[in-house]
């Protein structure tokens, strides 16, 4: 087995263990074991607060990592990320419309609005990029355009909305996982795990999607159909994660980028990107708890220096 993958698994386990034990009330390893054997206090802290939160962080991170790996292959650009498919901007617009535009208590509908917004934006980008077929560069350009347009609409809503609604919408847009619970996690799993399994079955097709159209086509890749399926999977994964945690930037860009060196094969890259994404987001959440900030604000803080490092590493290319 790939050594990089083993290392990633170990790191994820370490961060998960730290996240479970770290908090206002620390839990030593023996407390965690006690919880498993029925100690009520430890079990409450673990079962209703920390475990769902850690599991959500891991799963959302994994979704974003895999969605990022798909985007980078389909867009043939190592700097592409699911946000280019309008996922984050579409979800934000969906939530802003719901919170600011609809009267009454609608907080429980926010994940749904987020997912719908993300899916609609991705569909619009795919449809508008279609000209007897799609091409990577047209998807990127249309994606940037739709992203800007939805962003502008969201800003417009926040300018005219009621200030308390605007505040709620903006808090959601920061992206966080502190109100994770088992129900949300179950929904996330239902949406994302099948998509993740299908993506892994398509690892070879992803390998070939990163080549130019003629090479892929000549080798027998059903280009257009495959691209549509891959974009749909990416939308499902990233849309489910944005529904569960709000828009979280940089994980989808960084996680696949960090594991590129392990292999050029998606059979390795996909699980590695999933693990790396899980690690990044669980790590960001852990640090976020220490400094009282939502994970969605911390991922750029971790992300930006990494991008700097990547650029530095390639300065002679």
């Amino acid at each position: 087995m790939n050594r990089g993958l083993v290392l990633l698994v170990l790191l994820v386990l370490i961060v998960a263990a730290l996240s479970l034990s770290w908090g206002d009330r620390g839990l030593a390893p023996q407390d965690i074991l006690a919880a498993l054997h029925g100690d009520p206090i430890a079990a409450t802290i673990l079962g209703t607060v920390r475990a769902p939160r850690v599991a959500t962080a891991l799963l959302v991170g994994a979704c974003l990592g895999v969605a990022g790996a798909i985007t980078q292959a389909v867009m043939r650009n190592p700097l592409a990320e699911p946000g280019l498919l309008g996922i984050n901007s579409g979800a934000s617009l969906g939530v802003a419309l719901l919170v600011i535009g609809v009267e009454g208590a609608v907080g429980h509908l926010m994940p749904l609005a987020g997912f719908a917004g993300a899916a609609l934006a991705a569909t619009a980008i795919y449809a508008l990029a279609w000209r007897g077929g799609t091409s990577s560069i047209r998807l990127i350009l249309v994606g940037i355009g739709i992203g800007a347009a939805t962003g502008a609409l969201t800003s417009l809503l926040t300018v005219f909305g009621d200030i308390r609604d605007v505040q709620r919408a903006i808090a959601w847009m920061a992206g966080s996982i502190y109100n994770a619970d088992w129900t949300k996690l179950r929904w996330l799993a239902v949406w994302s795990l099948p998509a993740f399994a299908i993506t892994c079955c398509l690892a070879r097709d992803l390998d070939l999607s990163a080549f130019d159209d003629d090479v892929g086509g000549a080798l027998g890749l059903p280009l257009q159909a495959m691209r549509a399926v891959l974009i749909a999977l990416c939308t499902l994964l990233a849309g489910a994660s944005v529904a569960a945690a709000g828009p979280i930037g940089f994980v989808g860009l960084l996680a696949p980028q960090l594991v590129r060196g392990l292999s050029s094969r998606h059979a390795i890259r996909l699980p590695a990107a999933a693990l790396c994404g899980a690690l990044l987001l669980a790590g960001a959440d852990l640090v976020g708890r220490l400094v009282q900030l939502p994970a969605g604000l911390l991922t750029p803080l971790i992300g930006v220096p990494f991008i700097g490092l990547l650029l530095w590493g390639r300065r002679n290319d």
């Binding site: 070879r204 130019d212 090479v215 000549a218 027998g220």
Partner: protein, 277 residues
């Protein structure tokens, strides 16, 4: 042994091909015969690459039909097509960080079923492709770190790993120096003679084409103007009309096919008015 029913393997009949409303190839017909090395030549922009892409099934002709062993290629799935015919574009692009081995292994894509493990046949095809192209020693190197000629050979190895009977190659000798050009053409010749492959390659050097290919097909303004054995095609007259180059045809002391010695380029207007000479 049963004789194949028809020597024609790949057949285009009366095809018109174009992009964005402009016709590049006009009502062209061509037969590619089994077990032959056909060289496709013509001036820049005459439609060679367009024709090759259409024959590979990557570009649907606006009218006319293309068939593979009598079966219209529009009826074949992409994978079925790829198992029988491989196509190497002029400037193929791969992800930057891929190694030669990973690139070559992509050639097995049409032969693999979903989730099927890497088979002995896959391994054998890749090893053979690397050996034929002398790329074994470079197999673990990243493609981006290779010279233009090595990269071209890596791509050819990928195409060979595809184990298709027909190879369509768009200017395979472009990035190569003279020695590597000759080596590559000799390899193509061997693939035809020893493995029974059928090759259609776009080449630029008419003398090289004459030396290595069984047949030359000259394309000019989207039409096949001349096709046949090199000795029939390489005449001063044909070269002047197709390439707008004035020169002499000499007897090649080293090979049976004639040698074209270019003297000067004539502008197309001059050539049109100069038909009587």
């Amino acid at each position: 042994m049963t004789e194949p029913t028809s020597p024609v393997l790949l057949h285009a009949h009366d095809v018109t091909i174009g992009y964005h409303g402009r016709d590049i190839v006009n009502r062209l017909s061509i037969d590619i015969e089994r077990g032959q090395f056909t060289a496709l030549l013509g001036p820049n922009g005459c439609g060679k690459s367009t024709l090759l892409r259409a024959l590979a099934g990557l570009l649907a002709p606006k009218s006319g039909a293309i068939s593979l062993e009598g079966q219209p290629i529009a009826q074949l799935s992409r994978k079925q097509m790829a198992r029988r015919l491989s196509f190497l574009p002029q400037i193929p692009r791969a992800p930057d960080d891929i190694t030669v081995r990973d690139l070559v292994e992509q050639g097995r894509y049409p032969h693999r079923r979903a989730l099927a493990p890497w088979s002995a046949a896959d391994r054998a095809a890749c090893t053979e492709a690397l050996e034929l192209t002398h790329m074994v020693a470079l197999a673990e190197r990243p493609l981006a770190a290779l010279s233009g000629g090595q990269r071209q050979r890596a791509w050819l190895a990928m195409t060979l790993a595809q184990s298709a009977d027909i190879l369509l190659l768009d200017e395979p000798t472009t990035y190569l120096d003279m020695a590597h050009q000759l080596e590559l053409l000799a390899l193509l010749r061997r693939l035809v003679d020893e493995r029974g492959k059928t090759i259609l390659a776009v080449l630029h050097d008419i003398n090289q084409a004459g030396q290595f290919a069984d047949k030359l097909a000259l394309l000019s303004d989207g039409e096949i103007t001349s096709m046949g054995p090199p000795a029939d095609v390489i005449t001063a007259e044909v070269v002047r009309t197709v390439f707008h180059v004035e020169g002499m045809v000499l007897v090649n002391p080293m090979a049976p096919c004639p040698l074209f010695l270019p003297r000067t380029a004539v502008s197309s207007i001059d050539a049109a008015g100069d038909d009587t000479t």
